[in-house]
Symmetry: C2
Subunit: 198 residues, 2 copies
């Protein structure tokens, strides 16, 4: 039986990615709230498990993994069937491509634009929004002729991209020109185990 703890923050889209996969895999876990506003993630104690001072961190018995992308990969490989992160080398690379988009245009575009409004972070809003649209345009084009991002099934690439896309409006980025992205979001929200961010 898995003994899983998630160092967590409710409003974090990166933590939400992990909560989504845990739920979709049907795994029980303990959520441990980290007081980001109070600086808890930046303490030397916390940096022992997360060197960049960030959530999420997943602890599974004796194994401790930081970074949302690494945690998604770890959980899919350890607990998922092969569809979540396929072993075929081309399908696997396609998942990696969209994981990269989730870490680039989506995180440094959409998520940072949201952080400007939500957490008063001092990022260049126009740059963030421009970066975000590059990612959204690529996604929308791809999703015009593909149901999911990487393969014929939902993968951790869909999970990695969904949170900050679904929250794009909080960074004043509209999805009105991205009808295929909106269709994909609807399909994603219909998956068994989908949960809202809070």
């Amino acid at each position: 039986m898995a003994d899983i703890k998630l160092y967590d923050f409710p409003l974090s889209g990166n933590c939400y990615k992990v909560r989504l996969l845990l739920s979709m895999l049907g795994l029980n876990y303990e959520s441990i709230a980290v007081d980001l506003a109070g600086g808890e993630s930046l303490t030397e104690e916390f940096k022992k498990i997360s060197p960049r001072g960030q959530v999420p961190v997943l602890v599974d018995s004796d194994d401790s993994i930081w970074d949302s992308m690494a945690i998604l990969s770890f959980l899919a490989r350890r607990y998922g069937d092969k569809t979540w992160f396929p072993e075929d080398d081309v399908d696997n690379a396609k998942v990696m491509q969209w994981l990269a988009v989730s870490e680039n245009e989506i995180l440094y575009g959409l998520a940072r634009a949201r952080a400007v409004f939500l957490f008063k972070r001092p990022f260049d809003l126009t740059q963030c929004q421009d970066d975000g649209h590059i990612g959204l345009i690529a996604m929308d084009q791809h999703l015009s002729h593909n149901k999911w991002l990487a393969t014929d099934f939902p993968t951790i690439a869909d999970i990695a991209c969904y949170p900050y896309v679904s929250l794009a409006h909080e960074g004043e980025i509209s999805l009105k020109d991205y009808k295929n992205v909106r269709r994909w979001m609807d399909d994603f929200e219909a998956l068994s185990g989908w949960v809202a961010i809070t």
Copy 2:
């Protein structure tokens, strides 16, 4: 026999990652120069193989992969021995952790700071430098008691992090406070198959 083509740009650190791994794996390939300054990567034709309009793109016979992280993973899985991207789920997650650093603090910190000077890109230099130092501090701490980033052997995580760290000075980010990072760079440059960026 592999029939590999790399859509390439000499000064791109992301292309350099792929050239390093191809060389370290002893794979022959054809480098196809893409005229970034002339806008070639942003044409509709090029976006058919690279939806974000970026290099590198790798074509291996009938398979076409965009994004440096995806290409590193693809090449290591298809052609490498298991040390480059291990299958053990914890070791694999450790590689993914540092791939995330390469896509986050290193790409949006160190690489963007370099792009401000080298390509006159309009990024917030102070923000880029601050982001870069978060990544370097985490790397230096980790490398104070580990020879390589993810396992006891060099992995694609080392390859993904090395280029923009070794070029940090071009973004006016000094490595003088990061002696463990400098030691790791020396070890990396001693690996069989290491090549300079140009």
